[in-house]
């Protein structure tokens, strides 16, 4: 009977952990997406200095994002995000046209990361 009670307790704990991990991922992703949008907007205005300021914010936020979401998200996808972010700086400095495309790819990755964790039919199967 004690084993049963312990099992029920652990299962409840696991469910709570799953829910909280989703909530954390959602909140962190939203914060990160907001910075990505800000970077995109600033880049469109053409000010490299302002874009670099937002980029620094994006880079420091990525560390926090990586540390927390790395607990429950596969490391490969987070590494891909890191790769994109590190390639953005030289692109911004060179004012390359495909910077927007890379920012869009980063946005897509962050969105997917959360959506893939949602317990939806196609994700489960």
């Amino acid at each position: 009977m004690n084993h049963c009670k312990a099992s029920v307790g652990i299962l409840i704990g696991l469910i709570l952990l799953c829910i909280s991990s989703l909530m954390i991922l959602k909140s962190k992703s939203e914060t990160y997406l907001a910075i990505i949008d800000q970077l995109e907007t600033t880049f469109q205005t053409g000010s490299i200095e302002d874009t670099l300021v937002v980029y620094d914010k994006l880079e420091s936020e990525l560390e926090k994002y990586h540390n927390i979401t790395g607990l429950f998200v596969n490391g490969t996808e987070l590494d891909e995000m890191r790769e994109i972010v590190s390639s953005l700086k030289p692109m911004i400095l060179a004012n390359q046209k495909n910077t927007s495309a890379e920012i869009a790819r980063l946005r897509m990755l962050v969105q997917n990361l959360y959506e893939e964790e949602l317990p939806e039919f196609w994700n489960i199967l």
Binding site: H3, C4, A6, S7, V8, I10, L11, L14, L17, C18, G70, L71, F72, V73, N74, G75, T76, D79
Partner: protein, 225 residues
């Protein structure tokens, strides 16, 4: 490398905890559900150990969840016969009164060699000696011999004595086990008397056993120890 070592240690603790949670039944014969759970746990633990890109929680969570499901399933099985039959199946009779049930053997995909092996392991070499042979839910075969072929018991030859509990270890490596002494219905006074008569003391004894009939055996420590 260090990460792998730390992850291995954490997973070891989780797997050990899980096996303890599954209970002692796990250590004996495995039921189908228990076998599935055990195989899955070992696979999940291996994956999490090998690939450090996979978060440790992705390994720990399914292990704990599977064990919890297993404990709950066994608890429901305990309460509901129908559920137990669904999960574990039911025992099947393959030999009745010395006659093989061939249809049942086909259903269970048991060969004659399997049956004979099981009988021989039980010390039986002829099917005719068997009253009942039953394939249990864990796949083992229980055999009940015909009365004429069963070995005579002490009761049959009227030499049976009063049932007595097996001897208990009272002293192990110079340490007294109070609960063992109490379980044979004796106290410290009795023990002191025995030790005085034997000319020894508790620290000098390697092992002492005693039963309810006050029969005891003392093995002293070797001098070099």
């Amino acid at each position: 490398m260090t990460i792998v070592l730390i992850r291995a240690f954490i997973l070891y603790l989780v797997v050990m905890f899980s096996i303890r949670l599954m209970g002692k039944r796990q250590l004996g014969e495995l039921q189908p559900a228990e076998l599935v759970t055990t195989i899955l746990i070992s696979n999940i633990a291996t994956l999490s150990l090998e690939d450090i890109e996979i978060p440790l929680l992705h390994g720990i969570m399914p292990i704990l969840a599977l064990v919890c499901f297993e404990v709950l399933v066994s608890w429901i099985s305990l309460k509901s016969v129908k559920f137990r039959r669904l999960i574990s199946g039911s025992p099947k009779i393959i030999i009745r009164d010395g006659i093989l049930d061939q249809d049942m053997l086909r259903t269970l995909r048991f060969s004659v060699d399997d049956v004979m092996t099981a009988l021989r392991l039980g010390g039986i070499f002829s099917i005719e000696e068997v009253q009942f042979a039953i394939v249990e839910t864990n796949g083992s075969v229980s055999v009940y011999q015909k009365s004429a072929d069963q070995p005579a018991t002490k009761e049959d030859v009227h030499t049976a004595k009063k049932d007595c509990n097996p001897p208990q270890v009272i002293i192990a490596d110079g340490q007294l086990r109070e609960h063992a002494l109490a379980s044979i219905g004796q106290d410290r006074k009795w023990l002191d008397l025995i030790l005085r008569n034997s000319g020894t003391s508790i620290p000098e004894i390697f092992m002492m056993t005693a039963d309810q009939a006050c029969r005891y055996q003392i093995i002293k420590k070797d001098q070099k120890n």
